[in-house]
Symmetry: C2
Subunit: 305 residues, 2 copies
């Protein structure tokens, strides 16, 4: 038996490093589906993200946002471990596994406007690795420091390669004032290994505050020097799709305007989870789907209304 | 002897209120100086702020920024009570009274490009009520929650009326990414009294934020509903001037780019401090000038270089 070296090993050294991505960014080579132009495929290859300014119309947004409010005010949902509060209060910050908790969001994650694009980029059928709704409340929305999701998913969840994408659907307007997502274009091509080890059961804290998997300032400076910074902003109903290794973060939100979105992580069926590469116990199913990895099927949902 | 009621009384009730401003915004009526057009005077009257996109040229900015670095690395300056470090590190966050600690900034605060504008708006000679340099470091710059400076200066320092303006001169570029100043246009026309009686659960809030002089969310929502939000952004060398009662704040800065500025508060010589209206002991001279209130004289400095 040959033991392969983990090329994306992280949290083992006292010094950070930056290595080049070893995996493709776009896994298909044929003609893209009508939801995606050749130009956009190239843009994604180079920059690591795509912005869709009006993916959902105002009527659909209203229904999708109504579901958000229904979930966050449901006392049964609030008691689930899937529901995460802000560090210093009872305010709901995120609800996980919403593609199973909500029939509406189950449809949404299979909406062909998204799934056709995802399947082309991943070059295969996909399943939901993680889903959640995020509430960044007005006045007190906390910052999310820079991170690559893949660094965590590889180290803590056992995701083998970079063959996953995230889609964040805005359910409120994203403006310069309410802490929009910021990305470092091109950072998906580099992999920043982080310093330090990961304790078991660390996810309970890390969902509220990051302590592990935090990239160092020198590496971040280098990435920004190369790629700059972009904060795609748009109305409710816009969406941003980004590569699993994209370096991203967001500032705090002291504006009165909440920033809420639905977040789906699509993983290729050829990239299912194995044992965590950091050697820790796997995190719960609602954070990283291991058993429930059923391939999605593109639909044309009618959200009603 | 008649006892006059304090129309700007704050921190005495358990309920916040919004009252109308009782003082003029622009204290002169004649022709504005050449540094200020009639349109800009009207803009300031309505909105409470002015943005100067290129007040200082790149050569001047370099010299002014050099002085910032000199001050922050001077061991003697670091030991002064005027120098404030970040809560959890040795990194300098602000240095106060820089118009006296630095001969260069002494010239800067009397630069006629600024002072002529200030004197017109205040309708009188002015002196420096407070000066400081602010360093908002990259990656870890903290947010400043919404506040009206006047609420504090009246309550804690004994500033009688709204007849002061602040000028923030950008020594680094202000972008959407590094936590630029945000203002609520028109908020200078309203005065939000803050809640003073400390509720039982207040400690949970106070761990996160400043404890006194914090406006309530309902009042802030009303102000933003009326006036919207603006974040004037510009290159190093730009400046923003705003009324002492302007509601303003800024988000955190996780970008690699620091945000540094020099900050001067100009108070009218007819508005010198009296005993603090909140009944507390006056704050130190370097935070609120009481004895050192010498009127400034407009100069045309040559910053050398």
């Amino acid at each position: 038996m040959t033991v392969l070296q983990d090329i994306y090993q992280s949290r083992v050294s006292s010094k950070p490093t930056i290595v080049d991505r070893q995996d493709p960014v776009v896994y298909s080579q044929g003609t893209p589906p009508e939801e995606l132009s050749r130009d956009r495929v190239e843009f994604f290859q180079t920059n690591g993200y795509l912005f869709f300014e009006t993916l959902f119309d105002p009527g659909e947004v209203e229904i999708l946002r109504g579901e958000l409010n229904r979930l966050s005010s449901d006392p049964q949902i609030r008691q689930l471990e899937e529901t995460i509060a802000e560090p210093d209060s009872d305010i709901v910050r995120s609800i996980f596994r919403v593609h199973e908790l909500s029939p509406l969001y189950a449809q949404l994650c299979q909406d062909q406007r998204i799934l056709k694009v995802v399947e082309y980029l991943l070059g295969s059928p996909a399943y939901i690795h993680q889903s959640r709704v995020n509430f960044k409340p007005g006045f007190s929305g906390k910052e999310f420091y820079w991170h690559s999701d893949f660094e965590t998913w590889h180290t803590e969840d056992g995701m083998p390669t970079m063959r996953a994408v995230s889609v964040a659907i805005a359910l409120t307007d994203n403006t310069e004032f309410n802490g929009p997502l910021m990305v470092i274009p091109g950072s998906h091509q580099r992999y920043v290994t982080c310093v330090g080890a990961t304790p078991d059961n660390h996810y309970q804290q890390s969902l509220r505050r990051q302590e592990y998997g935090v990239p160092d300032e020198a590496s971040l400076t280098e990435l920004v020097h190369q790629g700059g910074l972009v904060a795609p902003k748009g109305k409710a109903g816009s969406a941003i799709l980004f590569d699993c290794n994209m370096m991203h973060g967001s500032s705090s939100n002291i504006s009165p305007f909440p920033r809420s979105n639905v977040f789906f992580v699509y993983n290729s069926v050829h990239n299912r989870l194995v044992a965590p590469f950091g050697g820790t116990k796997p995190r719960p199913e609602f954070i990283a789907a291991r058993e429930r990895s059923v391939p999605l099927e593109a639909q044309s949902p009618d959200y009603g209304g």
